[in-house]
Subunit: 227 residues, 2 copies
């Protein structure tokens, strides 16, 4: 019985990966670098994009994943960033992650010819988004320092699957009983050597480094011919 | 095709509800009030339990749901609170919620005869836990003020499905650009009239009110014969 269940899940992930590969091929054809941005709810994904994308040396676009509403998309549109909204609440109560098929359905609405970097802002959730590839080149997560030091140990797959962890809201450190060094050690324990950046969307600390990281990631694609 | 998918989802939820009813009957037989405690990752569920459960006028027990590890269970056991650990990482990368069957599998490990209140601490996630009944009498959620004012609008089902919203980390309000009144208005917009309590696990603000709320909820069962 358990075996059957696992088989069904594997089939679903296989189907997702097939569609993710098709998305990836389309992104490659347009020369767009695609970043899957993930975090818990309220960790600051949108605010970090509001801060970093204006003034970026490459042309960004955003695909906004939300269960309901278009609050984040509206905020980014206000900053003149090309943004497409994708809501997941057609499912029962709302899907807790984006999958490759949802992203595929949004492709015709994306201005791929006019951007170099597409940021896909996933649904706020530390579990399922890590399990579904959507056709991205790179995965980045935002960990708010207010969530505590222990989250990498409790949600290890999310931390393992990312190339960069942005540690946000560090301006609040003086007011918290949270140990930044312990958080960094826990991240390194579940994903040895992963890059981290300490940032504050509120004060702007680390935002220029995040911007440089994004531009370098886009430049890396431009330098390396598609395999 | 879409119709078929919806049918499959409905069948899964029907099966879950059948098992949830069986759990509920077992809890009723033992006279245990069951609370399903939900929130985003790092909102402070465990810390609020650490603060409120010792000194409670009724006998508490906790079922700890986590993707991986036993960090929270260990913290509660250190406070001499009877606690049972339930990990969800047998699934692909970990289930993002508890379902009725997982809770059913833990029933033999729970000291139901020796407790009046069972708190089921769900996996940190604002989407799927709201979709799966586990046999609880009441649902409570923790919303950390650090998550921002907009979360009720983005994750409405979770807010609609709870009888009480604990607004935690309010000690940080002076250091945030978050408006508590706006958060309260957004909660009321998606779930008119729902009870809220403003608390700080760190300073202890509101913890005695939370304790009284819990004791009153247990007393309500004792007063009303099971239907």
């Amino acid at each position: 019985m358990h075996r059957v269940k696992v088989r069904v899940v594997e089939d679903a992930l296989d189907a997702n990966n097939t569609i993710a590969s098709a998305n990836r091929a389309d992104f490659d054809r347009e020369g767009v670098t695609v970043l899957n941005l993930m975090s818990a709810p309220g960790a600051g994904k949108t605010t970090l994009l509001e801060r970093a994308l204006p003034g970026l040396s490459v042309r960004p676009g955003v695909l906004e994943g939300d269960v309901a509403g278009s609050l984040d998309a509206d905020r980014l549109a206000d900053r003149h960033i090309p943004v497409t909204q994708l809501n997941t609440d057609q499912g029962f109560g709302g899907e807790c992650h984006l999958d490759a098929n949802m992203v595929r359905s949004a492709l015709p609405s994306l201005p791929l010819a006019d951007i170099d970097l597409l940021v896909i802002e996933n649904v706020g959730n530390l579990v399922c988004p890590a399990e579904f590839r959507v056709g991205e080149d790179v995965r980045v997560m935002v960990a708010a320092i207010t969530e505590g030091e222990d989250k990498p140990l409790k949600y290890p797959l999310m931390y393992r699957t990312c190339e960069l962890v942005l540690i946000n809201k560090v301006d609040l450190l003086p007011h918290l009983e949270v140990d930044l060094e312990e958080l960094l050690a826990n991240i390194d324990a579940v994903h040895p050597g992963v890059e981290t950046l300490v940032v504050s969307a509120r004060t702007g600390e680390g935002v220029e480094e995040w911007r440089r990281w994004l531009a370098a990631r886009v430049a890396r694609r431009a330098a390396a011919p598609v395999a």
